[in-house]
């Protein structure tokens, strides 16, 4: 009897544990929501301080603004993942990676959105067997050179149409060079193999919605991290620092480049923000426009989530350095 009971008990405990876990996260969620409802009075009081209010407004605004584009990117990514056969992508891109990179970079023009959409799409491309170098070129170029962003730039700089050209040239250049660089020194094991529910055995609909659910939960969580960081920095950095830095040549370029990373503004809006900082030189403004769509706090969090921390820690600083350098050179030539 006892010898018989042991394995049964073990099995039951295992079953209890898995059930208990399921029970738990749903329960925790319900408790959390109940607590929020019960405690909304005190929470509101704390948040009614002007500083906290400003923080919450920026936080909610970044999330609300980015969410539709994230969903758009997630849907596109799921379509590529489930419905586009790998052979189609193989035929669409040149076989040689070195030539696939600029093609993918220019293809970034067709994704009309901001940077939140491009991360899941690039990830789906990698999973479909597109060479990572080309997918990364697409990842970097799409948010910077699509027609919406270029139009917004033209509107923000009505007296200086060369800014649009400079932004296009510098962004495409950085995207291609990063692609080629990855092809030269990049290693596949830096890219974390995606951990996603296997869709084997289930139908296409299940695979499609499974991909949507996973990507929204995953990338969405990191979007929230990025939004919190951006809101904190926007509230904390005193504006007077900027105006001091604007006067010093090299510092001004670095300042705006770092600011682009910290503020994590949507690439459709960044031109207007930087246009209202006229005390900075055009080259420094260009650095802001080139760096922002390629690497910022929100993007870093999303890239780390999608491709792995090892990848993001190598990719982000390199992108930043190359973007600043390219912006400085292109700015010197064109502006």
């Amino acid at each position: 009897m006892t010898t018989n009971a042991a394995p049964t008990q073990g099995a039951r405990r295992e079953a209890d544990e898995t059930q208990g876990w399921q029970f738990n996260s749903t329960l925790v969620l319900s408790m959390l929501l109940l607590l929020a409802v019960a405690g909304q009075g005190p929470i509101r009081r704390v948040l009614s301080e002007p500083v906290m209010q400003g923080w919450t407004t920026v936080f909610v605004a970044v999330v609300v603004q980015a969410l539709p584009f994230l969903v758009l990117g997630v849907l596109l990514s799921a379509i590529i993942a489930v419905f586009v056969p790998p052979s189609f992508l193989a035929r669409a891109l040149p076989r040689h990676p070195a030539r696939a990179v600029p093609v993918a970079g220019v293809a970034g023009m067709v994704l009309p959105g901001c940077e939140c959409a491009s991360v899941p799409v690039a990830e789906a491309l990698v999973r479909k067997g597109v060479t990572p170098a080309a997918a990364l070129a697409f990842l970097l170029s799409a948010p910077a050179i699509n027609p919406i962003v270029l139009t917004a730039t033209a509107v923000a700089f009505p007296d200086d149409p060369r800014m649009v050209l400079a932004r296009f040239v510098a962004s495409l250049l950085v995207a291609c060079v990063m692609g080629w660089l990855w092809q030269r020194v990049g290693r596949t094991d830096w890219l974390r193999p995606p951990t996603r529910p296997s869709s084997a055995g289930s139908g296409r609909a299940a695979a499609f919605w499974g991909s949507v659910r996973h990507d929204v939960m995953h990338a969405g969580g990191f979007l929230v991290v990025g939004a919190m960081a951006a809101a904190t920095l926007k509230t904390v950095i005193p504006a007077s620092w900027l105006y001091t830095a604007a006067g010093i040549p090299v510092v001004s370029i670095l300042t705006l480049a770092v600011l682009a990373v910290l503020l994590s503004i949507c690439s459709e809006a960044d031109a207007f923000v930087v246009a209202s900082l006229p005390q900075f030189s055009p080259t420094a403004q260009l650095a802001f426009l080139v760096v922002g769509p390629m690497i910022d706090l929100k993007l870093f969090a999303m890239q780390a989530a999608t491709f792995g921390r090892g990848f993001a820690l190598r990719f982000a600083p390199t992108t930043f350095a190359l973007a600043v350098l390219t912006a400085a050179v292109v700015g010197a030539v064109l502006l």
Binding site: Q22, S25, P50, A61, V62, Q65, P158, W209, G220, E268
Partner: protein, 238 residues
């Protein structure tokens, strides 16, 4: 987070987005042009939640235990999605007001359209439109006509009142103030963040914003009337 909880979060998030879109709540955070995308994304999130629940319900009982082990690594980070949900529904923070306006330089750009004013005297103009015409056109398209415009009050460190409108390009994170100074018959007491409708005439008086040396035009106030804040507190550049 298990799939049931994930489905709940997706459903609540989609619901919150739809709620913000269908009421005017979303206007506090983003441009009205984003509305179709916002509603569509809310609908997609709700469909994803329903489909997830449906597949979860139909999944054979035997496979449940097997699958959960696999799902344990389902991102903890997803829990954070509850935060914007709570902030949007329970807190619904207001648009940036005078606190931000005092700390940010005026963001007046050369306007696109300096064509003749619409008919009427006084004529209703956006604050940004007035400021653009006053600074870049030196008021020649305004002439002697009276202007009616509105905005909220912001007091600088010395207590000087400005009429301010926040300009939105994309979302409230990039909102920037456009400020107009007040001269003439100013009400004796002006509370920051209170909304006023001002009727007045163009004046050549100007000052610069100490924060970014941006030009701040003035309006010669004839009449100032307190008004409730509009649904959309922002002005757009286009």
């Amino acid at each position: 987070m298990n799939r049931t909880a994930q489905a709940s979060v997706l459903f609540l998030l989609g619901g919150a987005v739809l709620y913000a879109g269908l009421t005017d709540l979303y206007l506090r955070y983003v441009k009205s042009a984003l509305l179709p995308l916002l509603l569509a994304s809310g609908a997609v999130l709700i469909v994803a939640a329903i489909v997830t629940t449906w597949f979860e319900w139909r999944r054979p009982r035997a496979a449940v235990g097997q699958h959960t082990e696999h799902e344990h690594r389902e991102p903890r980070i997803a829990w954070l999605l509850v935060l914007p949900l709570l902030a949007l529904i329970f807190v619904a923070p207001p648009p940036p007001g005078s606190y931000v306006a005092v700390r940010t330089g005026t963001a007046l750009h050369a306007p696109w359209d300096l064509s003749a004013l619409p008919a009427g005297d006084p004529v209703r103009l956006g604050l940004v439109d007035y400021a653009g015409r006053a600074v870049f056109d030196h008021g020649s398209s305004i002439g002697d006509r009276q202007i009616t415009t509105s905005g909220f009050i912001s007091l600088d460190e010395g207590g000087t009142p400005y009429l301010v409108r926040m300009v939105l390009n994309c979302c409230a994170a990039d909102a920037q103030p456009v400020k107009v100074g007040l001269t003439g018959r100013i009400p004796p007491i002006l509370q920051p963040d209170s909304w006023y409708e001002i009727t007045g005439t163009y004046t050549a008086e100007q000052t610069t914003d100490p924060i970014n040396n941006g030009v701040i035009p003035y309006i010669d106030v004839v009449q100032a009337r307190p008004v409730p804040a509009p649904d959309d507190e922002y002005e757009s550049r286009f």
